[in-house]
Symmetry: C2
């Protein structure tokens, strides 16, 4: 199993990125990671590491900056590490790609190559969110900010397969993000998507509209939304968690006395466990191959997890299931 890793992508690349690869190959004896990046910067980081034979290097001279315009960067920098990863995937030289670099450039790189799975209209980014009833899938969180109802419906199909095979939910429930629970709520996109689910083979899994507060209560195993809304949900959740924990820290450390250190340790453990960067990256579903997009601030642990997710995902052959399930959907067939 060979996964390409964008060694130049991430706020602190290449240091923690390469460190994550070293940890990933140590944890999985079947895994090799192809480090895509500038040899001059990456090679020194590999001096003396274990399993060096499973950490090959693919040299390229350019990198897309975290704040660069994706489309402009991909055009002006043909030898950038993100485009090289996508090309390696398209040439089937690797089974998957992982990057903590510019998210827009990763998505644009995939869209430019147009290597979508059969019947897929538009790929979507799925992410795993913690809830009171265990993890749920939120899709799309930023690949597609102008979706049509058919796109959202397909996100439901793909998210459901992800929940079944990666999160082990036997019959995942699917909710549509909306501003109220009633069927007639929201804008046309929401109403049309609602109707599409209700007339599809997924209608038994579809629980209708869910609202913002329902996600973390665990109301649905899969929450479907457009990429603009999903991105806002993801980042707002991060912000509120951070805000709440800062408040709790401040108030509790002021109030407690003898057990202050014990409280501090407990809270730090909680932050560590619920730290979004630990969740191992978000798969771009619907492309031919495996693509995992990580948070820009990813450290070695997050990269190691993301490489593990990429390998599991390839092994589970989720893409074959996606193709099969979309083929069985009369809505897609009727509109081909």
């Amino acid at each position: 199993m060979l996964i390409a890793l964008d060694a130049m992508g991430g706020d602190h690349a290449p240091g923690p990125i390469v460190a994550g690869a070293v940890q990933a190959v140590a944890a999985d004896p079947q895994l090799s990671v192809l480090l895509v990046g500038d040899q001059v910067r990456v090679e020194p980081l590999l001096a003396g590491v274990a399993h060096r034979e499973r950490l090959p290097l693919f040299h390229c001279t350019q990198a897309v900056g975290m704040e660069e315009s994706p489309v402009v960067a991909l055009r002006k920098k043909p030898d950038n590490s993100i485009s090289r990863c996508w090309q390696l995937l398209a040439q089937q030289k690797v089974e998957g790609i992982v990057s903590a670099g510019n998210t827009g450039a990763m998505v644009a790189g995939g869209l430019l190559l147009k290597r979508f799975l059969k019947n897929v209209r538009r790929p979507g980014i799925a992410t795993v969110m913690p809830t009171l009833k265990g993890p749920c899938v939120l899709i799309d969180v930023g690949a597609n900010v102008n979706p049509r109802p058919e796109h959202l419906f397909q996100y439901g199909v793909m998210g459901s397969i992800f929940a079944r095979h990666i999160l082990q939910r036997s019959q995942p429930t699917i909710g549509l993000m909306n501003v109220g629970s009633e069927e007639q709520k929201g804008h046309d996109l929401a109403k049309d998507t609602h109707a599409l689910f209700n007339s599809s083979p997924l209608r038994n899994q579809f629980i209708g509209n869910v609202e913002g507060r329902d996600i973390h209560r665990g109301a649905a195993d899969v929450v479907v939304c457009d990429g603009f809304v999903g991105n806002v949900i993801l980042k707002t959740s991060e912000g509120v968690f951070e805000f709440t924990m800062k408040m709790v820290f401040q108030e509790l450390l002021d109030a407690l006395d003898g057990e202050r250190d014990k409280a501090k340790q407990t809270l730090e453990g909680l932050i560590h466990r619920y730290d979004y960067s630990a969740f191992g990256g978000a798969p771009l579903l619907g492309i031919d191959g495996v693509c995992i997009i990580c948070h820009g601030s990813s450290g070695d642990r997050a990269i190691k997890n993301a490489l593990g997710v990429a390998a599991n995902y390839a092994r589970a052959r989720l893409n074959e299931l996606i193709v099969k399930e979309l083929e069985a959907s009369p809505i897609t067939a009727a509109e081909e």
Copy 2:
């Protein structure tokens, strides 16, 4: 100062609604509250209360259910308490109206009467969010799920006046909710609104795009977004706060021993303080008069606060400032 209160609106109406009115008139000797609702249910709640002379009753026979379709309910129930509140406002018999009832019906009631302030294209609901740097204004959180760029621009103008006069920010910063900080990010609505702010008299207050995680960090005094996204942000924030506090409670009460009760009290105090229902309701900005929309779960304290906000808002004469500032905006003038 006479404010009309929808006595029939709210998950537990009329009990806590009327109790909130009783508290509000006790706290503000200049305030009278006109209770709009079913005399048979409201009158018994007023037996023996103080300041009964400042708690008049406006009898009506119908109420809109919390889950009813707003447009259908308003049409089929002409004597409902929400429509009666709006009519009292339109006839200038009251200076403001407050309801914890069906939000969609409250907004639809206002839109049907079309009593917008001069130059206002569409009203928007503003809400106050807690941040690490004090409260900020989020607008719109649900009045307008299909806005045009001019609507969002006007929300910036109105939100800024609210932040200046109610939150006491001398020169409020305005951020546009988007999926990334770069100017070219997001859908057309976001890009066009970005351009509109940058070519307006508000350009010195406009700090560009903000992301979900920036809100609770206090990156902007006013955050502008469409009503769909704003509603999702508001409810997701509620859900994440609830989720995080449950986790903290569970972990800390397990870990602590002698200071467990002290920790419990501190956490309960925090929840009480940051409880969204305590924030006193959200004003529907842009209508001629004062309209405060409260959370359906509002208890007496939230209703009391909302009545206080309505009175302050009327006294501050914010509507005159909104009209003046929108008149000074060449963008609005050019498009009339």
